[in-house]
Structures are given as C-alpha cells and as structure tokens.
Subunit: 339 residues, 3 copies
C-alpha cells in the first residue's frame, strides 16, 4: 500500500513522497525499508534522525524533513488504524463444532459461530453469531454469550455468566469463580455460598489469567468498552463503569464501584465497599482505602492526592538531614539555656 | 419458605410477620419483594429505611421497625445459613468417567466420584468418594485425593500431591508446580530439582489461578479449614496453619510459616524463612520482612505495628510543613547569632 | 549411594565416615537416618547440633564434628548436584502423539518428541527433539519450539511464538497473549492490533500462571538462562537479558528493558519504557518509575538507592517524636521572643 493510500484511509495528511510503498509497521529503533513507524511518546523522538523506516506517523508539530510523514493530531490512534489496514484479520476458517469438543443437551449456538477443539459447553447455554471459542474453552450452564466474541484457549466461563457482543477474553481468564466469602463460626470458617453471577457488557477485553468472581448475591458487572489487563483480580459484586482501563495485577475488592473512564495503573489495590468516581486516575502500585471523588488523580500507599504525594516524597528525601538540623538547633538552644 | 421457618432452622428470632414468604437473597440496595437481605457492615445500615426487601437479617442492636426482621448476634453467619437453605445444592448428576476423559492404568477412583469431560488422571492416583472433577482437570501421578472434593475446570494437580476431604479448588489453580530454586554456577543458574510435594488438609478452599509450589524437599503444607483467594502465590515449603485467611494476590515466599487463624489481606508480600504467629493480622499491601509474634496486627511497607504505622502516616502529612518550621527556627537562630 | 561416592561426583571433600549410606535429601529440621541435608542460609545453622540427618553439606568454615560432612565453597550448588544424583529423571515413557490430542495439517514434530493427551497443535508449527507436552497444552499457528523443552499441563502458546531449547514452562503459562494497547478515540478505546510475537531463548524457565504478552510490533524477548517465577506479568515489547531472575508476582510494563543477571524480587512493579542495567538488584515490592544504572541496588516505593531507603526508613521511625521536638523548640523560641 502506498503512503498516500494509507493517509487517505485514516484521514491524515501526507508530507513527502505519497508513492512510498509501505509493507509493515515496526518499532522506530529497528524499522527498515518498507516499514512505517510512529512516535506517540516523545522519549522516542531522538530516533527520527536515524531510523531506517520508510515513513513515520507524527503529530502536526514534531519536525521531520528527512522522511515522508503522515501527520495527524492523534498519531497513536492513526497508527492503530494503519495497523488494521496493513494486517487485516484472516477470514475465519469455517464454523461449526470440532469433533473433539463436547456439547451438552439444550445448547443454542448460532451456525456462524466456531467451537474449536477440546471445548466443553454445558446445557442451557446460548452463543450468538460469528463468535469463536478457539480451543480448550469451558462454558458452564445457562451462560449467555453474544455476537462476535473471541475466547482464546483455556478460557473458563462458569455457570450463569452473561457476556455481551465483541467481547475478547484472553487465555486463562476465569469468569464466575466463587467470591471469597466466609463467616467465622464455632466450627471454623463457614463458606458463604456465592449465588450471584457475572455480567460483561459489549466491547470489553480481559487479559490473560485475569479472574472475575461471581457476585455473592446479584451480579459482578463490567461496563461496556472497559479494558482489563493480565492477572487482574475482580472480586464479587464489583461494578466497573464504561471505558475504564484496569492495568495488570491490579486487585479490586468486593462491592467496590469504579466509575466510567477511570484509569487504574498496574498493581493497584482497592479495599472493598468504596466508590471510585468517573475519570479518576490512580497511579501504579497505589493502595486505595477510601472512596475517591470523580476527576481526582491519586497516588501512593496509602494513596493521597497526587500533588501532596509528590511534596511528601520530596520532603522525605530531606528527612535524615532534617533530623540533624533539629539536633543542631536543640544543642544550640541547650548551650544558650546553659549560659 | 416463610421467615418463621428460616429463623427456626438457623436458630434466630423473628420480629414482625413470621408468615412473610422469602424466595431469594439480594443486596440491600437492590432487593425487592420476596427477597431477604442482611447488614453485617454498618456502612449499609442507611439502606434500612428505603430497601424494598421483604425482610432483613440484623444483629440484636440495629433498630428496624418498618420490616420483618430475623435477629442473631452473628448476622453474616446467619445470612450464610439462609443462603444454604434458599439455594440448596443441585444433586450431582451421575458419577463415572466421561468418554472424552483419559485415565491411565492403576488409577483407583471411587464409583461415586464423577470425572467430567476432557480430564486426564495419571497412574497411581487415588480419588475418594463423592468427589467431582468438573471438566478439563489434570491430576498427575501418585496423587491422593479424599472425599467430597470439588475441582473446577482447568485445575492442575501435579505428581505426588496429597489432598484431603472437602477441598474446593477453583478454575486455573495449580498445585505442585516446581518451586523457584536456582544455584549460581559458572555456567549460569543451575536448577535445584524440586523433589518435594504439596499437602492440603481437609476443608481447604483455593481461589482461581492461585499457584501452590511443591516443596524443594519435603512438603508445602496448607492446614485444615484455611481459605485462600484468587491469584495468590504459595512458594515451596511454605507451611500454613489451620483456618487461616489469605486474600487475593498475596505472595508467601519459600519456607515461611503462617500460624493458625492468621489473616493476610490482599496483595501482602512476605519474604522467605520467617514465622507469622497464630492470629496475626496483616493489613492490605503490607511488605513483611521479618517474623511477627502471635496476636499482633501489622501494616505497611515496610510493615510495622499498626498503631505506629498510623502515627507515622499522620506525621508524614505534616512533614512538608515541618521543613518550613525548622527553616524558620534556623533563620531566627541565625538572626540571633548574628546579633 | 555412599557419602564418598556423592562427594566424588560433585567435586567436594568428605569429613567423617565416607561409607555413610545416603538415600534421600531432607530439610535439616525434619531429616532422619539415611537423609543428607544442607545449610546455605546461616539461619538454619542452629539445627546442626540436633538434626537427625546422616550427613550434611556445608561450606568450609561452618563447624560440625558430630556428623559426617561434605564440604564445598558453594553448598547450595553442591546440594543441587546431590539432588540430581539421588533423584535421577525418570526416562521418558514413549514418544508420539496421544490419541486424544488434535494436530492440524502441516505440523512438523520430531519423532522423539512426546505429545501427551488433550493437546492441540496448530498448522505451520515445528517442534524439535525430545520435547514433551505433558497434557492439555495448546500450541498455536506457526510456532517454533526447540529441543528438550518441557511444557506442563495447561500451557498456552499463541500464534507465532519462537521458543529455544531446554525451555521449561509450568502449568497455566500463557505465551503470546495480546499486549494491552488502546488508543482513545471519539468512539471509546480503539484496540491497537498486536502484530508482534514472543521470543524465548534457550534454558529459560517460566513459573505457573505467568503471562508473557506478544509485542505490539516486533518481539517481546526473554534472554537465555533467565528464570521467571509464578504469576509474573511480562508486557508487550519487554526485553529481558540473560540469566536474569524475576521473582513471583512482579510486573514489567511495556517496552522496558532488563539487563543481564538482573534480580527482581517478588511483587516488584516497573513502569514502561525504562532500562534496568546489568546486575541491578531490586528489592521486594519496589515500584520502579525510572531507569536504573548497571550494578545498582534499589529498593522501596518509590524506589531509591537501597542505602538511602534504609536511612529514610530509620528516620521515619523518629518522625512522630521529631514533631514534638520541633514544637518544643518553637515554644521555647516564642517564650524567648516574648521575653
């Protein structure tokens, strides 16, 4: 595809030779002839002068004259669209149920959907159009799955889960495991039977080996457009809004609510029964023990307003010296008192 | 079931109309007619005046006159018992081995036990009565499994593991993976062959995608009644006592011992070769680098006595201001000295 | 085997009765007659006077006269070699493809390799000599796997992955899941198609339920001899050098580079796009938000030089008292000013 064709399809403008042929995308540091690369993180701008890429995707400001350039105010989104054009999805190779898979009675699967090898789908379950269970996927009883879903090998969806359209679940994801609920009794810890379920709205993507527990009673909910990374823990009765971003190894405790467009960085932990407002940003590794108002940015363990956290952190670096300074003041004071 | 019948079976007292019919449990905020709800966390008491539930489970103190109430000193335990009554287990639908599963020679499985589809059970393994391997469960060589166990889809139990009665393993649990042991040598890191095993006592429950490594030599042990949440890491030769609670994403390093009834909140990390006494409580996200005496409550990174942690945290908020105050004292002091 | 034979084979010296018969290894606290034990951690030296082991592996300095001893400057490595001698690998019981497994067309697997039950290997894939897929392993399209690999039950290797020789992947490992990349757009979060792959060099071992994402473009790379523990997250385009050690539940964000022989302790988190130099050591639970020069030891959240972290930590314990001392100085000062 030529640079001009690409630019046209993604609604960007070309600078330089629009006839440049583009065959692949590559990271700017290792790109070669035929590759297009992009800069969204200014850290990588230093490579503009040396990259062997045939073309770049840049924002309107970043200078570059040695190479043909596609310019767009959102170079990252433009890059995403270029990737889609250069790497079209392979057409799905057939539908139906593989002979090594086992479907129980009373299962309703659209003819266009593909059940790969070694899957197990239980009774009462419904799966919509053009979905794909790649391999070794378990779907329990009375599960509802929409259209255009893609479940990678080793996904486990337990009884009663409700999953919308265009949902991507990566390998090892567990949906609907029991929540962690036990009541102390005279004879040890009594299990609280987890009789709720999981609801996942449209356009959700969940990363490898992430776990989403069913509600103790009622649902655990993940709103439409929300993206969850690998090895995340979503406890029972958590409710996550729309278009939220939950990065790897974060844990959200029971009944906590996360607002729309909230961004939780990696390894964040939240206690149960709190509310995180819309558009909240939580810094990596923060420990959140109380609710956070909409729009706030918080950080730290324990988490505080991000600006306050930075001030305290700067002050901490001076704390050992401060101890000495106070000792000096005290000794002068005692000298004076001694006078 | 009527409220009177429920109260009678769980040993609680009724206030109000004992003939109220109860069909389901529901969270207090969303409950409707026919539902019973409960309050164990005072945070939710504000819903008493507005809930549409038909009845509530409360402790003896919490006031409520607008609805029929079941009262018990332990409302959470009472709720657990009510759930059991309203949602009885479905009877197990048959025993035997599914035709898509593969059993090796010399396997000893009680007739009452059910091996679902796509399981693999290896030679030398013994499984007791009324246990259930739901689907896609792997059980290695020479494994011992007791009665009434429930292993969800995707559980992997490696060679030589010993599992008691009434053990629940959720999807993706790995029991008996190699511990992480390597000795530096002239030719890189030499693997220490992990020749131990895992022992899990009765009434243990382990959450989705949690990993329990085999001992390097000798066992890794989990005591009876202990409950472990999702995505927890238990390293080689860890020993956990009875009725302990280990919350999600916690990691316990090699050879560390955890006492009876210890409670480790979420995302806690413990170094190896330390001892956590009986009844210790460790706050969420704490980093524990030395042993903790029985009965203590610790918190923080690095962890300290919980009261001290709180004092330091309060002082930290005043640290930026403290720097200014010391600067002021110094400048006054220097003014005086200059006099 | 006698103590003399063992010592001879591992290049160590014997003190005491070289004819002592050794049958097994055991932890020093629980060892009995016929067992050999070792001390690498001085914490366990107190057991030398009481252990019932028949012999010990010690360094040249540690005193011990009551038992026969093998001495070597590296007792841990010597122990590793003794374990190999006392617990030889069982010979692999046959090669070939199990009848319950499904191989697609155009698969090239060496005759000496063993594909256990319930595996799925997709088209275009090549597997070398003497490798073993134990059970329920998924290998996607166009994957390259070398010789002598060992993949435990439930391993998932996605399309296009390239894996060297002598690689061990424990149960539940996911190789080649999509990286977490989304560009904000007018219509929510647009997925950045992840068109890269994963490259794992020789002699790598990866722990249970760890996830390694494919590159967004280009590879995610793990260098030869590197060992990764359970439940670790390796994001897209991460590059890890040779002989690195990454302990459990650590997370490495996108495009970050880790040097040779770096050691990352448990639950460490690293932001993306930074470089960790060769031989860097990072303490448990640290949060790393900027690059670290080769050879440094860092610790804390946020991470600092380890010595500085310790000084600050010590000062923090005195902070509540410091507040009081400053208050006292201020009140004296104000008294004087009042004079």
């Amino acid at each position: 595809m030529t640079l001009g064709e690409l630019a046209n399809k993604v609604g960007a403008t070309v600078e330089g030779d629009a006839q440049t042929v583009i065959e692949a995308v590559a990271p700017i540091a290792t790109a070669g002839p035929g590759d297009i690369s992009f800069i969204a993180n200014p850290k990588y701008a230093r490579f503009i002068d040396t990259t062997e890429a045939s073309a770049l995707i840049l924002d309107p400001q970043t200078p570059c004259t040695r190479l043909p350039v596609i310019r767009h105010p959102n170079p990252y989104l433009t890059y995403a669209r270029v990737v889609d054009l250069l790497y079209p999805d392979q057409p799905q190779t057939g539908s139906g149920v593989h002979s090594t898979s086992f479907l129980e009675w009373d299962v309703n699967i659209d003819d266009s959907t593909r059940i790969g090898p070694l899957c197990h789908v239980r009774h009462g379950t419904v799966i919509g159009k053009n979905s794909q269970l790649v391999s070794s996927v378990y779907v329990g009883e009375d599960v509802q799955i929409g259209d255009n879903c893609l479940f990678y090998p080793g996904v486990r969806i337990l009884n009663g889960s409700r999953i919308g359209n265009n949902v991507i679940l990566h390998s090892g994801v567990v949906i609907g495991s029991d929540g962690f609920g036990f009541a102390p009794s005279e004879r040890g810890l009594k299990k609280i039977k987890q009789v709720g379920w999981v609801e996942i709205a449209d356009d959700v993507e969940i990363g490898a080996n992430t776990t989403v527990d069913r509600g103790a009673i009622g649902p655990t909910r993940i709103g439409s457009g929300t993206k969850i990374d690998n090895l995340v823990q979503i406890a029972h009765n958590v409710e996550i809004g729309e278009n939220a971003i939950i990065v790897s190894q974060t844990g959200i405790s029971g009944s906590t609510k996360i607002g729309n467009r909230a961004v939780l960085a990696g390894q964040v932990g939240l206690v149960g029964h709190i509310e995180i407002g819309d558009d909240v940003k939580i810094g990596a590794k923060s420990g959140i023990h109380k609710s956070v108002e909409a729009g706030k940015t918080v950080f730290g363990y324990p988490a505080r307003d991000a600006m306050l956290s930075k001030r305290i952190e700067a002050a901490l670096l001076r704390l050992p010296e401060l101890l000495k300074r106070v000792r000096k003041l005290e000794s002068k004071d005692s000298d004076k008192s001694g006078d």
